[in-house]
């Protein structure tokens, strides 16, 4: 168990507009954090800050390698799938191999061993059969798995997923979260979602991002907590069947 990354009083935004205010968060090995919150609340911005894609206005992001300050290339990342141009001429295997970019130099080709690793991952996700296809020929669920392979091929310590359940059917969603639960044995996971009902069934802790960040060390949230933090979502609780409880409707 060790710290992976620490955010201290981070304030960030775009073109001078503050989206995230004074956020502090610590991510440790084997964490499984669900990030919820309203649209425009800063969920994706938080991921971008951790990934180093967005420099915060104030505050500090520190990575740890063991207990030393480390580098940021220990993260696997699965972006929102509608951000990628699927008509780009590239094969599934090449997409997966691109996850090794920072471990390999900029020159040369991939070794047979690395190609085999990519194929093993694809087989593990049940999509070995499509390895030679162009990404434009895949369904949403297949694409999602390909990007997951790309995110984990470098064996990252932290896997971050941005809305992985968009455009995906319910059957696949269950499989997908099952896969994540397995992966969580080897790496910490942060998953952004607005589908509160499903993710709270899988994650260990929840962070609600709505400008500020409120960390809940459990995967259930009460209405009082939400009201206090101004998070406009439902209450969540777990039984034999995961369910959400709505507040009594006021007339």
């Amino acid at each position: 168990m060790g710290r992976i990354v620490e955010l201290n009083n981070v304030t960030a935004g775009y073109a001078g507009n503050v989206v995230l205010k004074d956020v502090t968060l610590e991510v440790n090995d084997n964490d499984f954090i669900g990030i919820i919150g309203p649209n425009g609340g800063g969920k994706t911005t938080l991921l971008r800050v951790i990934l180093g894609l967005l420099r915060p206005y104030r505050g500090r992001v520190t990575f740890f390698n063991g207990h030393e300050r480390g580098t940021g290339d220990i993260i696997g990342y699965l972006p929102q799938i509608n951000q990628i141009d699927t008509r780009f001429p590239i094969s599934v295997t090449d997409v997966v191999l691109s996850g090794l970019m920072s471990k390999e130099g900029l020159l040369g080709r991939y070794s047979g061993k690395q190609k085999k690793l990519a194929e093993e991952l694809l087989a593990r996700m049940g999509i070995y059969g499509i390895r030679k296809k162009a990404i434009g020929e895949l369904s949403g669920g297949q694409l999602q798995r390909v990007y997951l392979c790309r995110a984990i091929i470098s064996s990252p310590r932290l896997l971050m997923l941005d809305e992985p359940n968009t455009f995906v059917d319910t059957k696949f969603e269950t499989d997908f979260y099952g896969i994540l639960k397995d992966l969580n044995n080897d790496m910490a996971i942060i998953v952004v979602s607005h589908d509160v009902g499903t993710i709270t069934w899988y994650v260990k802790t929840i962070a609600c991002v709505n400008g500020n960040l409120h960390y809940h060390p459990y995967s259930t949230i009460t209405q009082e907590q939400l009201a206090a933090y101004n998070c406009p979502i439902q209450i969540i609780t777990h039984g034999d069947v995961p369910h959400t409880v709505l507040e009594t409707h006021r007339r």
């Binding site: 073109a15 990934l51 180093g52 894609l53 940021g72 290339d73 993260i75 990342y77 972006p79 951000q83 990628i84 141009d85 780009f88 001429p89 590239i90 094969s91 090449d94 997409v95 691109s98 970019m101 920072s102 390999e104 900029l106 020159l107 040369g108 080709r109 991939y110 049940g126 999509i127 059969g129 499509i130 296809k133 162009a134 434009g136 020929e137 297949q142 790309r150």
Partner: protein
């Protein structure tokens, strides 16, 4: 058929034109695949027309217009990239500004230059048959640069082009590679002006790639096939240009468009046959995962 062609090879201007076709096809096949895959067709059009400013400057100050056009095009390309990133200006509007600015500058310099501007039509519509040995040396230099760079950095170019943001999370030198590639795009465009002309050169960067894309969905294969198709198109265009005395740009593009129509028909036919074979005779199920 072969005889008259062999005769043509005895003429210096024809072998020059042939060499120019080879180098231009390699440059345009590779760079065009990058342009089409990354959807940079509009910025390439902008760079092409902006380079006319450089041609005007060359005329006015009396040096090889292709040299000044290359310098001008590279700076326009870098300018568009840089300003749209740093200053809050929309990229496509900026392209429009550079596009018209270069053309205006070119017109002004050509009009105030003393005397009649020879070969102006050649720069606008292409003039393969008047390629000079100096032009060929420049084309070859760009070919060495382009093919060397793509051979060496193929992997990182592919990954950055496919998903810039993801490449950035891996600390890849995205901005540096982008600037380098857009400079190579500018150099390729200017050195292809002799073949297709400013107004028509964009076709060499898009039609072969579109044809190649009908048959392959892989970046590397697309480059190789595009080079081949670009060469066939320019070669056919060269013969037509020679025989009927029309600007080579127009004849090259007509050849390429003709090839595109044939290829499209072939691919429709092939898809039809494949679908019939795969699904209708029931030997193979449509594969899912």
């Amino acid at each position: 058929m072969i005889e008259p062609f062999l005769d043509l090879l005895q003429y210096r201007f024809f072998t020059n034109a042939l060499l120019a076709s080879v180098f231009t096809s390699i440059n345009c096949g590779i760079i065009g695949t990058y342009i089409v895959s990354r959807r940079l067709v509009f910025i390439s059009g902008g760079i092409t027309h902006a380079s006319f400013g450089g041609i005007g400057i060359g005329y006015f100050f009396g040096f090889n217009p292709l040299v000044s056009a290359t310098v001008f095009a590279v700076f326009s390309a870098l300018g568009i990239e840089f300003i749209s990133k740093k200053a809050d200006v929309r990229e496509d509007s900026l392209i429009g500004i550079f596009w018209s600015f270069g053309m205006a500058l070119g017109v002004i310099f050509i009009f105030i230059a003393p005397g009649y501007a020879p070969n102006l039509m050649g720069y606008l519509f292409g003039s393969l048959l008047t390629v000079s040995p100096g032009d060929i040396m420049m084309m070859m230099a760009v070919t060495v640069l382009v093919s060397g760079f793509f051979l060496l950095f193929y992997k990182v170019i592919l990954f950055i082009s496919f998903d810039q943001e993801y490449a950035r999370t891996h600390k890849a030198p995205v901005q540096f590679i982008n600037y380098l590639l857009i400079s190579l795009v500018a150099a390729t465009i200017v050195l292809s002006i002799k073949v297709a002309g400013i107004i028509l050169v964009i076709s060499l960067l898009t039609i072969p790639q579109t044809i190649a894309n009908l048959f392959t969905k892989k970046f590397g294969n697309m480059m190789a096939i595009s080079v081949l198709i670009a060469f066939l198109g320019t070669f056919a265009g060269l013969l037509i240009s020679y025989n009927y005395n029309i600007p080579s740009g127009a004849s090259v593009i007509m050849s390429l468009i003709f090839a595109f129509i044939i290829a499209k028909l072939l691919s429709i036919l092939a898809t039809g046959i494949r679908v019939r074979k795969t699904y209708l005779d029931g030997t193979e199920k449509p594969n899912s995962y």
